[in-house]
């Protein structure tokens, strides 16, 4: 690597990272706005729309991402990195912008969910091709002893993309009512429209970039691969490295990444029942404070080797996931809060003078059932706020008898934590994202170094997207499955990422080489 080339590495990193960040942003906003998108395009009660919705969720992540890795990986090894990852950016940006323009189901009927499904699949395809190109491009410009550090900038983009997506959605949502945000042409579309500006800037920057010097040299020598897919997966020497990359590193990285960044957020929202805004605030702080560690661990991997940093991240996830998630539940136990409040009698109602009461009557063959929902909002002295919903049931039998069944399991939701407790949660999410930075920071350099230049784009893209898209993306589905099977353990869903990370740790421990 000449010093003149090394001087321009900053521009190369910025131009590559910016585009990748935007692609992640584009991919995330769909998932984050899934509820509103579902209301607008996939109405409940329509079985075809429900089927298309399921396809949009599952096919984009599981099928199309790995397929995109193959399609664009092949293209990148045949025609070059620069034009391929420029193409993925254009595809992603256009698909995202167009999703923001599709009229709702109410206006154009079934064409709406069909168009959205098609555009979501294009998003998945583009994402499959982007990462491998950006990582390869930066690595092929970097000196060997700084590959970990330089490529770690690309590694920050998946997390920063999440940060930008969360921040923009939060910003738009906090400036309008829920009704205005969720209406057919409401605020939920703004994040999709903003994408075109971001992509435009990134395309302009990427157009000015030159081809990777290593790929350029191969082209001049006429030694580029004629059939990258065949060489990657048909030749035993390369194929066994693809398998090692997947099972010894990327599958563990994928589940750690997903569990720490996404499952944690979903758990805080649905199991802990934190307030929507505070939940996002916690994740935003944790991401902001943890992101520099991607660079630190990338840099460290150049000094100490990649293997042990990645494996330590997996090991820490295996050991600490259950204690951390258990702390989330224990520290927000609504029943305990109520006992504390009643014992010290410093509770006051917040925002309402009287509890809200709603009654539902139901006529049955034996009489009439009346369910009384009582909702109280409580504010404790230390600053904790939450809503308690009690559903008492009473009945009048046909023979005139009355009975009442008190609800012994009230639901506590909309929890707003006190400032010290909020910072404790930020710290816990931060720790989990630091695990991510350990496994994810050095992995681009690790993958790049595992494969020869002529088939690098193809060979590294597929295991990466299977590890992240399939193993990582399955976390919520398998978690639901486990929670349904093991009903007495609210943390049962964590056994899937723990098992996958543990298996990957053992395989990596035994078979990975610790090369710097």
């Amino acid at each position: 690597m000449s010093s003149s080339t090394e001087k321009g590495i900053g521009k190369i990193i910025i131009s590559s990272s910016l585009g990748t960040l935007i692609e992640w942003y584009d991919f995330y906003i769909f998932g984050m706005l899934a509820k509103t998108i579902s209301m607008q395009f996939f109405p409940e009660g329509n079985s075809t729309a429900a089927l298309l919705s399921t396809l949009a969720i599952f096919a984009a992540g599981f099928l199309v991402r790995p397929f995109g890795a193959l399609v664009f990986g092949r293209l990148g090894d045949l025609i070059g990195r620069k034009y391929t990852f420029l193409l993925t950016l254009i595809l992603m940006g256009s698909a995202t912008f167009l999703i923001g323009l599709v009229p709702g189901y109410k206006s154009i009927g079934m064409a709406a969910p069909l168009l959205v499904l098609l555009l979501r699949l294009v998003q998945g395809l583009a994402l499959g091709g982007e990462y491998g190109g950006a990582a390869t491009y930066v690595a092929e410009h970097a000196p060997k002893d700084k590959r970990g550090f330089y490529t770690s900038w690309i590694q920050t983009t998946a997390t920063l993309g999440l940060f930008v997506a969360l921040a923009i959605i939060l910003l738009v949502k906090s400036n309008m009512s829920d009704a205005a945000f969720n209406s057919e042409w409401g605020g939920w579309r703004y994040p999709f429209w903003i994408s075109i500006l971001l992509v435009g800037v990134s395309i302009y920057i990427r157009l000015k970039m030159k081809e990777s010097p290593l790929f350029e040299a191969l082209k001049k020598e006429g030694t580029t691969s004629a059939n990258p897919i065949k060489e990657s997966f048909g030749h035993k020497e390369n194929f066994k490295m693809v398998l090692l990359a997947l099972f010894g590193a990327v599958m563990g990285q994928g589940v750690i990444w997903y569990t720490s960044q996404f499952y944690a957020q979903s758990f805080l929202e649905h199991s802990v029942k934190l307030d929507f805004i505070q939940n996002r605030e916690i994740v935003l702080w944790a991401i902001a404070l943890a992101t520099p560690f991607f660079l630190f661990f990338g840099w460290l991997s150049d000094k100490t080797g990649r293997k042990w940093i990645m494996l330590t991240g997996m090991f820490l996830g295996v050991i600490f996931y259950r204690p951390i998630f258990s702390t989330f539940l224990n520290d927000t136990n609504g029943k305990e809060w109520m006992q504390r409040a009643e014992g010290r009698s410093y509770v006051k109602l917040a925002g309402q003078k009287n509890p809200l009461i709603k009654r539902d009557s139901l006529k049955t063959s034996t009489g009439i059932l009346v369910i009384t929902h009582t909702t109280n909002t409580w504010l404790l002295k230390e600053g904790i706020q939450f809503t308690e919903t009690i559903a008492d049931t009473s009945g009048i039998d046909n023979d005139g008898g009355n009975w009442v069944a008190m609800d012994n399991n009230p639901v506590y939701s909309g929890k707003i934590l006190s400032t010290p407790l909020k910072w404790k949660f930020i710290f816990l999410v931060w720790i989990m994202i630091v695990f991510v930075t350990m496994v994810y920071g050095p992995i681009a350099a690790f993958l790049v170094e595992l494969f020869p230049t002529k088939i690098r784009y193809t060979s590294m893209s597929l295991p990466y997207h299977i590890g992240n898209g399939v193993f990582g993306g399955l976390v919520p589905f398998i978690a639901t499955l486990l929670a349904t099977t093991v009903t007495n353990d609210p943390l049962a869903g964590l056994w899937y990422p723990i098992a996958v990370a543990a298996l990957c740790f053992v395989i990596g421990f035994v078979f990975l080489d610790d090369k710097k």
């Binding site: 089927l51 599952f58 099928l63 066994k240 490295m241 398998l243 639901t480 395989i507 080489d513």
Partner: protein
């Protein structure tokens, strides 16, 4: 380790198929009672599990001893 991987792979497929049979039903647990996600997941996981078996086989044969990067 190689042998373990070769054993785990068919267990994963068995686990997925048996759970699909159990959970795909009207009125089943939300999110896991629809056939399409299961079809996609089993479809994508079967080749991955076969890959894990092949990995186990290579590991058993000592293919990963002294491999060199680059």
């Amino acid at each position: 380790m190689g042998l373990t991987c070769m054993i785990i792979a068919p267990i994963i497929i068995y686990f997925l198929i048996s759970n699909a049979i159990t959970h795909i039903k009207a009125g089943g647990a939300k999110d896991i009672n629809q056939p399409i996600p299961w079809i996609i997941i089993i479809g994508i996981f079967t080749p991955i599990a076969i890959g894990l078996m092949i990995f186990g086989y290579y590991a058993l044969k000592g293919e990963y001893e002294n491999y060199t990067e680059e």
